[in-house]
């Protein structure tokens, strides 16, 4: 064994000092522990429905799904989010559906209302329906990053490619920015 390893010498002191300094620095960086757990979310107000959420997420299919705030839904028969603008009939025929993967489901409620729900197993987060709903309807459909699917990458690939900077990092407790009357609700 090397002699100078015995006991606590100058080098050890320097090491300890270095560690202390680094530790202090780290705490500084951590804002003295103020830093909360941040998660990625889409700001529905900024989203311009470019469709990149479907293609740029690191997982496949994307962790971004369409969510539906039924409290601002019109339950219209002619739904801009469900039907192609060129649709010849208002039914569930594939030729009339806007959703490329038929993830948006339509169910008759009562004359003249229809319920629309999203099948997240199919949804790829392309925002086609979101745009249709915003343009022709109430804007009750919108995209959101599903926390259970998202890997919460250090640098979100979607955020990087989002042309309208709609993907933002927010504290977990504020997570799920969904459209609704009133303020964005926490998910509990």
């Amino acid at each position: 064994m090397d002699k100078k390893d015995a006991g606590f010498d100058r080098r050890d002191f320097l090491r300890a000092a270095a560690v202390a300094a680094a530790g202090g620095g780290a705490l500084l960086a951590a804002g003295a522990g103020q830093a909360e757990r941040m998660v990625w979310q889409i700001d529905p107000a900024k989203c311009t429905q470019c469709g990149r959420c479907a293609t740029t997420c690191v997982i496949n299919p994307s962790a971004v799904k369409c969510v539906h705030s039924t409290e601002i839904c019109g339950f219209c028969d002619l739904c801009g989010g469900y039907l192609l603008p060129t649709a010849k009939a208002q039914d569930t025929g594939a030729e009339n559906e806007l959703c490329p993967v038929a993830a948006l489901k339509r169910k008759y409620v009562e004359e003249p209302f229809f319920e629309y729900t999203v099948d997240e197993d199919l949804c790829v987060g392309c925002a086609k329906c979101v745009k249709g709903c915003a343009q022709f309807g109430n804007g009750s459909l919108h995209l959101q990053i599903k926390r259970d699917l998202c890997l919460n990458c250090n640098e979100c690939a979607i955020a990087r490619s989002c042309p309208s900077k709609a993907v933002v990092q927010i504290p977990l407790r504020e997570a799920y920015r969904v459209k609704s009357f009133g303020a964005p609700e926490a998910h509990k």
């Binding site: 293609t55 002619l78 603008p85 004359e111 003249p112 086609k128 022709f136 109430n138 490619s161």
Partner: protein, 337 residues
């Protein structure tokens, strides 16, 4: 083990360098896939649709000195009434302000009766002014849910559209509530109004038949004074012929020839339907009304056209909220020169 390795050591240098070069190259050349046509929804062409059928052009614009105009109506003498925050404006045919009456509260809609009296639909009650604009009467307050959005008068009664309760109220000139029209009633085969937001409209056709829009069903319904459904017409669709989205048509007005002018929100446009309700011509498209999807205003207010009227000269008057102006449209041939 032999002295000379069978692979010379410089080979490893080459291999390592090559691998690193390849890796860096891969880093620099990678780019994510862009969404294809199946993932992109291009709606712009629907804003342009109908440009070919334009039969009208804007011939004048009356700027209004009025905070937040809400309703417009044509008067018998060729002038027009515009109501807004605490105010009722009287304009002449040239759009010059001839009188201004203070009103308590914001009328949502205005109409003139056969006797020249002016009926203002406040949120929950009807206020009556005489021809000179002096307060004449105030009709009883309606219930909490009430939300009057449109008012019209014919020779023997006044009709007020209550969007909150989804019915049209029929009043006598004295303010007596004579009846309710349009409440859902399977027995009388009345489908009932579907009104997600306050855009229930009533209008009188030249033969003083009562018409109302049914926004949720994208169409028009004609009622007899007794409240029975005379006829109904719906055309849902995003093409220029149809009505789409929430609450369209959101405003209607009849022209002398019995054709009807309609205004839409969301996909903001104005059209004229012939008496047989086929598309007779397009009046204005989103870009004419500052509501093309590119424009910032589009996001701010998706129903810029607040109300419609047709004046004695047959001109179409559209009340543009954000611009605080009355847009005057005339049919092409008349407007020439």
């Amino acid at each position: 083990m032999d002295q000379k390795p069978l692979i010379p050591r410089w080979a490893w240098t080459v291999l390592s360098a090559a691998v690193l070069a390849a890796v860096v190259a891969l880093f620099l050349t990678g780019k994510p896939k862009e969404p294809g046509p199946s993932f992109r929804h291009d709606t712009s062409n629907f804003e342009k649709a109908g440009a070919a059928q334009k039969r009208f052009r804007e011939t004048a614009r009356f700027a209004l000195d009025l905070a937040n105009p809400t309703g417009i109506a044509a008067t018998a003498d060729g002038g027009l009434l515009v109501c807004g925050e605490n105010t009722l404006l009287v304009l002449d045919a040239a759009g010059k302000e001839t009188a201004r009456h203070a009103v308590a509260g914001t009328p949502e809609c205005v109409a003139q009766g056969p006797d020249g009296r002016i009926y203002l639909g406040m949120r929950r009650r009807v206020v009556v002014l005489d021809a000179a604009g002096a307060a004449a009467a105030e009709w009883p307050e309606l219930d909490e849910r009430a939300y009057l959005t449109s008012i019209a008068a014919d020779t023997d009664c006044v009709y007020a559209a209550d969007a909150g309760n989804r019915v049209v109220l029929r009043y006598g000139f004295d303010g007596a509530l004579l009846g309710e029209i349009g409440r859902r009633d399977a027995a009388r085969e009345i489908p009932g109004f579907v009104v997600p937001s306050p855009h229930l409209e009533v209008a009188m056709d030249p033969m003083t038949g009562l018409w109302a829009n049914n926004p949720g069903r994208h169409g028009l319904e004609q009622y007899r004074p007794d409240g029975s459904l005379a006829s109904s017409w719906y055309r849902a669709g995003m093409t220029i012929e149809g009505f789409c989205g929430c609450c369209n048509p959101m405003a209607i007005a009849f022209r002398a020839d019995g054709s009807v002018v309609t205004a839409e929100k969301g996909l903001v446009r104005m059209k004229v339907l012939a008496p047989d309700l086929s598309l007779a011509g397009v009046v204005a498209l989103p870009e004419d009304l500052g509501a093309a999807s590119g424009e910032a205003a589009a996001a701010e207010d998706n129903a810029p056209v607040r109300d419609l009227a047709v004046d004695a000269q047959g001109r179409i008057l559209a009340l543009h909220g954000p611009w605080k102006a009355v847009l005057v449209y005339e049919e092409e041939q008349h407007a020439a020169g």
